[in-house]
Subunit: 211 residues, 2 copies
């Protein structure tokens, strides 16, 4: 007997897609709170309130579930930032992005860090397919930041020799390094310090320098 | 029967200290390569070539072993950097620190990321004692960086309004964010980009700006 491959949600009915999405959201929460290694398919099955046959209908093994969780967390992190990315072509937009990141950590009491970085720390050296998928997640993130900086360059607000690609990496790495220390210290200060330095780095390349 | 507490190496004989250090080094390698969760005391015992009574003589449980591994990895990361920290009071010293970090990743083929960040990603939300210990590890790191910047300030090479504490956080968060993307991409470029931005941040605060 062959089981149909349903790990790609595109082939599912709307009800099937909802069930699958529910399982993935539950798995993402459990893996974020208890770590990937300490989350079993059985834990997810019980927390999601589905049967054995249901969960194995959607995910043939834990690896497949992990792939879906990476996609889920990437969307969860990036989708709320899309409106912010589109306004990163102004100094005010950059400030708003910085404040969004800081305020988000304050709301979380600095717990959890970045969900994508958390998965990276757990999977990068033990699951090479996951590592590649996580690298793509960060490329999506970097591309979101770059889009605003490219718009800034097109408007002539960014110095001609400034590289939007590199500036996006500076913003993203500063965010990630700041999040790590903020998570460990349960204090938003390292994140603020890192992001303020990154914003200064961009500002110094703006032809119309804000006050 | 009470077992003597031997988790503090200070109370051990030289031979006991060597055996304990060997077990910790083996545990650190296993946890770095296979993750903390997937490393059992039994795995460590076998890899270290010691008996059950030996390993439990030194570590009453896995938590105690994890604490020792955090200390071990912190020393392993920071001790080679001590001579570099002492020269961070010049632009050449800062460049050397940057090159050391980049070359170290090249030697590792960008595998593994930062051992302390790796432990943080795995333990910060599931083991609060470990989180606090890891926060202290990064404070030690930050203090090492700050010492050079303070010496720079004392020599009058750093602008009076520059904050060595904040500059150290910028260097450390840039390093950590860069290491994360470099690990995922298996490419040293994001680390170079992040560190170059951090060094520029310091350079702009130097009163004698190098060429």
């Amino acid at each position: 007997m062959t089981r149909s491959r349903t790990s790609d949600p595109a082939g599912l009915t709307p009800k099937g897609q909802r069930t699958r999405a529910h399982i993935v959201a539950v798995a993402a929460d459990l893996m974020f709170e208890n770590s990937v290694a300490q989350t079993t398919i059985e834990d997810v099955r019980i927390a999601a309130g589905v049967s054995n046959s249901q969960i194995y209908h959607y995910f043939s093994d834990k690896s497949e579930l992990i792939r879906a969780v990476i996609d889920h967390q990437t969307d969860a992190v990036l989708e709320p930032q899309q409106p912010i990315f589109s306004r990163l072509d102004t100094w005010e937009g950059l400030r708003d992005w910085r404040d969004y990141a800081v305020n988000h950590q304050k709301e979380l009491n600095c717990r959890g860090g970045c969900p994508i970085a958390s998965l990276s720390g757990q999977l990068a050296e033990t699951d090479d397919a996951a590592r590649l998928q996580l690298a793509l997640s960060f490329r999506r993130w970097s591309a979101g930041l770059r889009s605003g900086l490219l718009a800034m360059a097109e408007r002539g607000v960014l110095a001609a020799d400034a590289d939007p690609e590199q500036l996006a990496v500076v913003l993203l790495t500063s965010l990630q390094g700041g999040l790590l220390l903020t998570q460990l210290e349960r204090d938003v200060t390292p994140l603020e310090t890192a992001l303020d330095a990154a914003l200064e780095h961009v500002r110094r390349r703006m032809t119309t320098v804000p006050a």
